[in-house]
Every structure is written in C-alpha cells, then in structure tokens.
C-alpha cells in the first residue's frame, strides 16, 4: 500500500496491521494494512461483499479478527493473542460507531439514548450527562426531540441522534458503516451534512460508504476494497478520477453510470 508522508505509522491515530478474518472457509479480510492520521477522513468503498464493513467492525472488535494488530490512540490489541474484555472495552470507548440501521434503543427517549453510555462508561452524573447530551443534540440540530422516543423521529433524524450518541464518549475516531444506505436520498443529505461538519471540525473518521460524491469531496483518502483486499488507496481526488487497477476502474465506472 502506498504510504503517504502524512500517514506514516508513527503519526497515525488508527493503525491496522495484517488483519485477517474468515467466516468458515470464506476469507473476508486477507491481510489488511491501514493507517489513518489524526483529523483525517478515510472513505472505504467497493462492491458488496468486499469486506469493507467487516474491516470496520473488526476495528472495534464487534467482529473478532483471526489475526492482526489494531492500534487506536494508546490502545494496542493483538488479535491473535485472545485479547481480554478490558482491552476491548477500552478500545470501543475510543471509537464511536454509527450503523446503517441506526440501532437507537427504542425503549429510551432520545436524551436517554445519548446519556446512557456517559453514565455507565464515563460514570458521569445524570445532570452532567444530560447537559452534554443536549449540547450534542443541539449540534446535530435535534435538541427539540430530546424528550421524544426514537420511533417518533424520521430515519435521517434517528441517524443524527445516533451520531450524537456516538460522540458522547468523546471518541478519538468515528466509524461510519454505510450511514446513509437505509435512508432515502433527501434524508441521507441531512446526515451527510452533519458528517461534513464533523470532518471540518477535525474529527478523525473512517466511512464505509456508497456515496461517491461524499468520498470524493469530503474524504482526504479513499480506499477501494475487493475480495478482502485493498485494491486501491490514495488521496481521494486521485483515486476517484484516475484509478490504476482495472478492477477499480470497473467498479468506479459501474457506480458512476447510475
């Protein structure tokens, strides 16, 4: 993988090394190396089944990798050595995650959704947590929905709440797993604009996406995956306009023709 001078392993916030993952006989990740610098936005694109979601889910151990090393801020985990629960929880605390299906808790109000982990993980008091939650809901433009239950909100609003919930732990990096795929284009836009603001505020982000415009205009780097491997990586404009491999060209042509 072509390393760039601004993302050498030493300065990187997220460092992934030789990551491997199989489901049965199917190899989903075939030795992935990845570095994301502080403040960088990386978009991961590629055809379905290429392993991009699995890669993201391995970074916070929602999926346990078979082999490889993950370092995030100060926490380093060697997947081959059966990492302990404490290490995994520490890693997850540093990584906020946003899912395709939002995964808000339906039995809690919007405010309770955002406050829960602050109370349980950061042991903030109720009022402290709620104060911070209101700030974050304000930031995603949904303070007015604080007392509502998630099902009273549109898909786009739910996803913005999910972003606020993930931000509540002051993560070092935000992981987005196809955050707009379950939304119609218009609602997707409001989520993308929140993500764009986050990026402008200097948040480090790894975004698995099918939004080519977002990949090109917001992200610093783009990675294209196919069959569990990285087939192309580099500055977004370069990769999107001038991919080197035939496989990447084919993929980009296919998504552009739509």
């Amino acid at each position: 993988m072509g390393t760039l001078n601004d993302s050498t392993p030493k300065s990187s916030l997220v460092h992934v090394e030789k990551l491997k993952k199989s489901f049965g006989t199917l190899t989903v990740l075939d030795g992935i190396d990845l570095d994301v610098a502080q403040g960088e936005v990386l978009a991961i694109i590629g055809p379905s089944g290429s392993g991009k979601s699995t890669l993201l889910r391995c970074i916070n151990f929602l999926e346990t990798p078979d082999e490889g090393r993950i370092r995030l801020a100060g926490v380093e985990i060697d997947a081959g050595r059966h990492p302990g629960q404490r290490q995994i929880l520490e890693l997850r605390r540093l990584a906020g995650m946003v899912f395709q299906s939002f995964n808000l808790f339906p039995h809690m109000t919007v405010l309770e959704n955002v406050s829960l982990a602050q109370k349980r993980v950061l042991t903030r008091s109720q009022s402290e947590a709620d104060g911070r939650s209101m700030e974050l809901l304000e930031r995603v433009g949904l303070a007015a929905k604080a007392k509502e239950y998630p099902h009273r909100c549109s898909g786009g609003q739910q996803q913005r709440i999910a972003i606020a919930r993930a931000l509540a732990l002051n993560p070092k990096v935000m992981l987005f797993d196809e955050p707009t795929s379950a939304l119609d284009p218009e609602l997707g836009l409001e989520v993308l604009s929140v993500m764009r603001e986050l990026a402008q505020d200097g948040m480090t982000m790894i975004v698995v996406t099918h939004e080519m415009h977002f990949a090109e205009s917001v992200s610093d780097h783009v990675m294209i995956m196919a069959d569990g491997r990285i087939i192309e990586y580099g500055p977004s404009a370069e990769i999107m306009r001038n991919p080197q491999s035939a496989r990447a060209q084919r993929f980009l042509n296919a998504v552009r023709d739509r």
């Binding site: 916070n60 929602l62 629960q85 929880l89 520490e90 997850r92 605390r93 990584a95 906020g96 995650m97 899912f99 299906s101 939002f102 995964n103 808000l104 808790f105 339906p106 039995h107 829960l116 982990a117 349980r120 993980v121 239950y149 099902h151 999910a162 919930r165 993930a166 732990l169």
Partner: protein
C-alpha cells in the same frame, strides 16, 4: 350458601400464594435457564435444553406427586404447600425460559451491537438494553401463562394444600351441594383471572403507545 362461600374462600389466600410464589420462581429461574439454552457452550445448551424438555413433558400433577410422595416421604419431610410451590415453580421456570427465548429472538441484533459499540460492559448491555425490551415483548405471553398457572394451582388440592379447589371439594362432600359449590369456585377463579388479563393488556398498550417498533 353464605357458610359455603366463607369456607371455600378460606382457600383463596393459599391459591394466591401458590400461584404467586411459583410464578416468582419461574420469572427468576427462567432467565438463567434461557441464557444457558442460548449459550455458546454445547454442554450447557444440551443440559438446559433437556431440563426444559423433561419438565415440560411430564404432567404437572405427576411432578407434584414425585416431589411430595417421592422426595417428600423418602428423604426429608416437606409440607404440601412447599411441594406445590417447588413443583409448579419448576414447571413455570421451563415455560418462562421458552417465553424469554422467543422474546429474545424478536430483538434486533443491532441492539446488542449498538450498546457494545458504546463500550458498555456485556452485563450492562443485558440489563440496560436487552432485558427491558425482552420483558416488554414477553409480557402478554407471561400474563397468559400466569392465568394458566392460577388455574393449574388447583392440582395442589390433590396433595392436600387447602386452596380453593380443596375447600370446594370438602364443602361439596360435606353438603352434597356440588353444583352450587363448584359454580361458586368457578366464579372465584374468573374473578381473580380477569384483573391479571386487564392489567397486562393495559400495561402492554401503554408501552406500545410509548415505544412502537
């Protein structure tokens, strides 16, 4: 008739106590039993699976006899009341485990993942996120089971627990007015079942209004 009713109603506290205690045991023990059943360790799965199947395939009355006449007379003395509570509690546990399991299957896997991604400890994921949703889904089935259990508690009369049916039986033999006695006790069962059904329906609709899925 007033005399008969008074006598029969002496059994009411016993019926309520047997039902409530057996239900409590079921609600509590059903949870670990279900967890074991959905565990990733095969031996635990098989063990809990066979307990559930065994308990459910033997008629409740046979269970009570095994506990009261079998264990109770052979090894140590237990009162008819204790035997009934243990027997019905055991049966409740097996049924509750199955009710919980069905409810768990209805909860989207993204719920546990969403909570885990926030760095919550697995125990907290369970307590804060899974359990409240699980009970919500399980509630109607639990209420149906509770009403069934209330009626099944009548078999405790066969080992001599002085509950409603036991009292009715005694009155019927003493007065030869079986039709009246048993009609009365039937009405009592209806009267105590209805509030349980209403309460559950009310709770269910209130929770649904707040949190539809």
């Amino acid at each position: 008739m007033g005399e008969i009713a008074t006598q029969v109603l002496l059994g009411l506290p016993w019926t309520l106590a047997v039902t409530a205690l057996a239900l409590l045991i079921g609600v509590a023990l059903g949870m670990p039993l279900m967890l074991a059943r959905s565990s990733r360790w095969l031996w635990l799965k098989l063990l809990s699976g066979s307990i559930i199947t065994l308990v459910r395939s033997i008629p409740p009355i046979v269970w009570l006899f095994v506990i009261f006449f079998g264990i109770g007379s052979g090894y140590f003395r237990i009162s008819p009341f204790t035997a009934a509570v243990i027997g019905l509690g055991l049966i409740s546990s097996a049924y509750m485990a199955e009710i919980y399991r069905g409810a768990l299957l209805s909860i989207h896997s993204g719920q546990a993942e969403g909570a885990a991604a926030l760095g919550l400890h697995p125990v907290r994921v369970w307590i804060d996120v899974i359990m409240p949703q699980l009970f919500r889904v399980a509630l109607p089935a639990m209420a149906t089971f509770a009403i069934g259990l209330l009626k099944d508690s009548a078999i405790a009369s066969t080992i001599g627990v002085p509950e409603l049916t036991f009292q009715a039986n005694a009155q019927s033999m003493a007065t030869y007015r079986g039709m009246e006695v048993f009609s009365f006790v039937a009405a009592v069962y209806i009267v105590i079942s209805l509030p349980v059904a209403w309460l559950s329906r009310d709770l269910d609709s209130r929770m649904r209004a707040k949190v539809s899925r």
